[in-house]
Symmetry: C2
Subunit: 250 residues, 2 copies
DNA sequence: CATCAGCCATAACCTATGTTAAGTGGGTGA
DNA sequence: TCACCCACTTAACATAGGTTATGGCTGATG
């Protein structure tokens, strides 16, 4: 019911995309509501991820604790929204989630979603919903930024380093980065001049050696510590439960 | 081939999640490579969205032009990445995409993805890949922020307004927002004091009237203009082509 | 070999926003 | 009714980062 509400609200069924069987499947899900009090925690960062929640009443939000003691809220959830899609595909929660005021949610497990998948075109609709949600998040996050410039740049370089390493494009802690400082400034939301200043800082601290497109990170771990890099989202392997679920679903 | 490379690289098949049929399906896709030159445009913002691109060689990036004339880069794409997943589920491109240096890409259409869906567990793997990518984007964007405080807050309020309107929770341009200024400050990455200052500014300009949790936007359109709100991502209805494709796929 | 155009470094100065602090007002409980 | 607390407001001051400007490389081109 709750899920159907949500999907219908998003306009999926109104265009005939859902067959009667699809609808029956959704209706048969039998989600049971759960009353939540204000400030109640849905889950904390790095907890096991195994379910979503449809918000029926009340507001909630997801957030990450930052190393400077503050927190960054990623998204506010309003009635009809689904919390936890961001973590689908990961073993652990990437962010904490908490109620703002009291409300009602409908939890449903990843397992239940898997049963929907593979049987119908619902997969497509749900995937689209998920991606919309992420797009919205991104849109919001474009306006954000709480870290100092040298932390941003260090984080950026370390991410590139990890991604290149995965595809075997790092040798001896060095790699090729075909980006101008102007491009980097557009990515990090700071001025090109400040990117230059910040590179100089990192160089003086011995964290980054750079000559044109050649970048070397003499001590990647030091960089990682500086930015407290959360590499769980880089590790691209599916959690073990996925393989089991995939085999279990005919 | 290219797609299989990408999926394998992401660790999907290494755990037995892909059946031989799945692999054959991927191999049968017959993607044809396309040579790209440096700075070549893949697509521009708001162009029709109908295909993805797997990057085989070279770097690319996606970006949005901002109203102040600068641009915000959303993501850099490295070999093995898929460009265009963000737009899946939308009619138009949400961001432009362009090559950085020369390289090779494999385009494949949404239609081809639909053919993969509904037949196999691939749906799950691909969805997971998509979501990972978005998670990565989010992670990166946490470090961003290029707009002034009053634009951020105006954008934030207008987004909440639109989302509440969709679920019928706006009346007479007023709505209930159970957020403290401290929560808002954590969401926007600015200090609570500055949130207050900025609310005062918006009030003086007649854009926002607020009393505790009651918020009124006397002239929502004026707010929208101030932030040049891109509401294509709020409009949650599937593009017409989706319905066709869904009906066409048995 | 000379020239030119990008790209980058550094400096001086300016502004938006953070920080600290003090004060106001409404809601709630004794 | 009083007192307290919490959310908010406003002000004064500090600073990270933006802006503008200048000059030095380096690699491409003729």
């Amino acid at each position: 019911m709750a899920l159907l509400d949500t999907v219908v609200m998003r306009g999926l069924s109104s265009q005939g995309a859902l067959s009667p069987e699809d609808k029956a499947l959704l209706l048969g899900l039998e989600l049971s509501p759960r009353q939540m009090s204000a400030s109640e925690v849905l889950w904390l960062e790095s907890a096991d991820a195994d379910l979503f929640c449809v918000v029926k009443e009340g507001w909630a939000y997801s957030y990450r604790n930052l190393k400077n003691g503050s927190k960054q809220i990623l998204k506010f959830y309003l009635p009809g929204d689904i919390i936890g899609i961001r973590d689908f595909g990961f073993t652990r929660r990437l962010a904490s989630a908490v109620m703002i005021n009291e409300g009602v949610i409908y939890p449903f497990s990843y397992q239940q979603l898997f049963e929907l998948f593979g049987r119908s075109n619902l997969a497509v609709g749900i995937m689209a919903t998920a991606i919309r949600q992420q797009a919205l998040l991104s849109e919001r996050l474009i306006y954000l930024g709480k870290y100092a410039a040298h932390e941003q740049l260090a984080h950026f370089l370390y991410e590139i380093y990890l991604r290149l390493k995965r595809i075997g494009a790092v040798e001896d802690n060095s790699f090729l980065m075909p980006l101008t400082q102007e491009l980097i400034s557009d990515a990090l939301g700071m001025s090109p001049v400040h990117v230059s200043r910040t590179f100089s800082m990192l160089r003086e601290e011995g964290l980054v050696i750079r000559d044109r497109q050649h970048v070397q990170l003499p001590d990647p771990e030091a960089l990682a510590r500086l930015v407290e890099f959360n590499d769980s989202y880089i590790d691209e392997f599916l959690p073990p439960t996925f393989s089991e679920l995939l085999r279990a679903t005919p």
